[in-house]
Assembly symmetry: C2
Homo-oligomer: 449 residues x 2
């Protein structure tokens, strides 16, 4: 039932970069493999909206020529990469997963795409996004749902569902996504890959179609944490700890506090057990009184108002072009009164003030990324131990707080439950990214693909 | 019909400071005069909510002792001053003009009150404010309307109505107010005194009960512009141009662009003529296309949402304690959707970007402060040349744009229409305050009281 692994399954950026420089493979060959896999696995996964064979092959040839001429752009040079279809790539259609943008072709690159090109990466195509990134399930999109490579009957998660599916299926070694409440980490966890949402603003969001500007983050998805770190370092405007290289194996990582997810959301206890098993026995952290509710209300109020502001004209002029479920959510969002937004901004200030209390002396907080395994495509509620679980709030419960606080958050594969991937989430304060990645590097190794 | 002039009518801060230092009068005598006038004129004007005779006399004695000992705190030392009842003075009731705060006595001073005390000023009492400062008419307050000294049947304007009435009637030479959409400048203009709303944040607003935090400014009211400048310099955290003293007579003032108020609001043409007459023949400035509507919508959306956020609990728990007209406005404000607030914040960014265009090469913009003369107390609509004029939007039309942009704005008396005062408003960019005051100093002298 799982999709057969593509050419990049189990290959790290470091491996591929070595092979390229050793002459075992060319960037043109890597691009060809990615394009062929996108073609072959495309129908089953629906990971791509647009595959750009001519553009990718031209970029790959340039990458080969540069390498041959000794102009080495670093670890991403010549590697195939996929870009979420919410992010502008000059000359390629950008649908935002919506029928509102069926014929839109931007003429400039998003800042992160400029960063990819500067790093020599080869853009092979645009990946499926939940419509306007407004949903964590990845199954409401003008070009249909992206699907989970472990089981295509199940959702990839979203909104960066195509990016996660493309990496998990081994079509590309790296993909770019956006994360407003978990949209990088949720599909990464459900599909069994790593995903990193940096600190707010660390990778510039210019040229990304907005969902909720206060929370929109650009992030990276790859097979493992180390590859996320490599890509992040190439794309971030200013990476703390770059010089010290503390994110590499030399550092034992930071002190880790475990958050029992039951404090945030009552999910599947088997997920909690699986995730906890890959950590050393770390101390448990208790969340400050009222934190969970305040952060959730803040998330919902700010996101609702900002998203409704983005779409106000479309809601008035052409509501019928929205997916019905997205339209209904937008209409609710448009009703949230402004005073709640004002209060939410005040609450966010307060919450920022308790971050140090939250970490309770630890460098890194750990918890599951998502408290359930991937539901079926289109499933919105299911029974778990006799309780009804609403899919959307369950998916977002453990990831969205770190968007409200703008904290760096990484998900890494943490095993399987019922044959479906689960993710461990590690969160740190801005500036502590090296410790975050060093912590990931010392985890009990887990392979799920 | 006008109220007879009190002891400080026509007296400048400079005169009074000289008299004090020459031994012609003591601070205790000045305080006694102010207290007696507040007592005598109180019933007719309702300018004061609280008169603090013991506190004022004690402060005045200290001021006299300090001066006698050679400890001179500068031009405000020993001068009586009145403080709007929205601003916290330790140990004195603060009603905010509302039945929600009948028994509230703060135990710390607002930052601007600390500034007054440091400057040696003598606080004689708290002045009437429109309920929660939420209205420019000054006639909706738990302790009744403040009245216009030129004609007590007419409104003082608001929300700092008591401060304006107290200065205009000569009860005090100086008063402090707050200005969120014109609440210093409107009553100053309608009562025939000067009022200065500094740049946003120039006088700290800590310890002021909020109306709309993005727009709340602390300002000063006095007989003339020079006295406003003196008080502003003592209260501002950081006054540009202080060292150069360019605000004094030595400078001829900046180049002035006239804004025909018809572009912003169709008011009383006699007001426009009277105001224009006190200016030299300056060039006319055309407002950028769409500016007026965008700034107005921005003002209303931001203020509505922020004000509703301040009062959400009171609206839910004890709506009956609000004045009915204030309650109705708050209920409307609480309905403004959050996406409009988000849009308004974006618009404010855009508007800040057109400020230089707006000034069109000039240093100072000039226009009437209020496009009508003081309406009757409680009047909400009246006929003018056969047109219906709604009082509230008319009062706010020419002042609120400068709150949205956070620009320094001064009103000075500019004559009488129908025997009622009108004001000339001068607006500049932050940092150009010396030019603003120099411009005011070179105007055709006008005495209205």
């Amino acid at each position: 039932m799982p999709i057969p692994p593509g050419p990049f399954a189990g290959r790290t950026i470091t491996d591929l970069a070595r092979d390229l420089r050793d002459g075992h493979v060319t960037a043109t060959e890597l691009a060809g493999q990615a394009l062929a896999a996108a073609e072959a696995l495309g129908p089953a996964l629906n990971a791509f909206v647009t595959v750009d064979a001519p553009g990718a092959l031209a970029a790959a040839r340039r990458a080969d020529e540069e390498l041959a001429a000794g102009a080495d752009r670093g670890p991403l040079h010549g590697l195939p990469v996929a870009v979420k279809d919410l992010i502008m790539v000059a000359g390629l259609p950008a649908t935002m997963g919506s029928r509102h943008f069926t014929a839109y072709v931007p003429d400039t690159d998003a800042a992160c795409v400029t960063g990819l090109r500067r790093a020599g990466a080869v853009i092979v195509g645009k990946t499926t996004t939940h419509e306007f990134a407004y949903g964590p399930t990845g199954d409401r999109s003008a070009n249909g749902p992206s699907r989970n490579p472990r089981d295509p009957a199940r959702m990839s998660g979203g909104s960066s569902g195509g990016s996660a599916a493309a990496v998990a299926a081994g079509i590309v070694p790296l993909a770019i996504g956006t994360d407003t409440g978990g949209s990088v980490r949720i599909p990464a966890a459900l599909c069994g890959v790593a995903g990193f949402k940096p600190a707010f603003g660390a990778i510039p969001a210019d040229g990304v179609f907005p969902l909720s500007r206060s929370y929109d983050h650009v992030g990276v998805l790859a097979g493992g944490a180390e590859d996320c770190l490599i890509a992040y370092r190439r794309l971030a405007a200013d990476v703390p700890g770059e010089a010290g290289d503390a994110g590499d194996a030399g550092d034992a990582g930071g002190s880790v506090g475990w958050i029992d997810p039951i404090a945030m959301y009552g999910g599947d206890p088997r997920v909690t057990r699986a995730v906890r098993a890959v950590l050393e026995a770390d101390e448990e952290v208790r969340l400050p009184e009222g934190f969970v509710q305040e952060v959730r209300e803040t998330y919902v109020a700010v996101q609702s108002c900002e998203t409704a502001a983005v779409h106000a004209e479309r809601l008035r002029r052409a509501p019928e072009l929205f997916d019905p479920a997205v339209l209904e959510r937008l209409r609710v969002a448009a009703q949230v009164p402004g005073w709640r937004y004002v209060r939410a901004l005040e609450a966010r200030q307060r919450l920022a003030g308790v971050v140090d209390v939250l970490f309770g002396g630890h460098d890194v907080l750990a918890m599951p990324t998502v408290p359930i395994v991937a539901p079926l495509v289109d499933e919105r509620e299911f029974a778990l131990d006799g309780r009804a679980v609403e899919v959307r709030p369950a998916l977002l419960a453990l990831t969205s707080p770190w968007n409200v606080l703008g904290l760096p958050a990484l998900t890494v594969p943490a095993g399987l439950v019922d044959g479906l991937p689960v993710g461990l989430q590690l969160v740190c304060r801005p500036g502590d990214e090296p410790r975050l990645f060093a912590t990931a590097a010392r985890l009990t190794p887990v392979t799920v693909l």
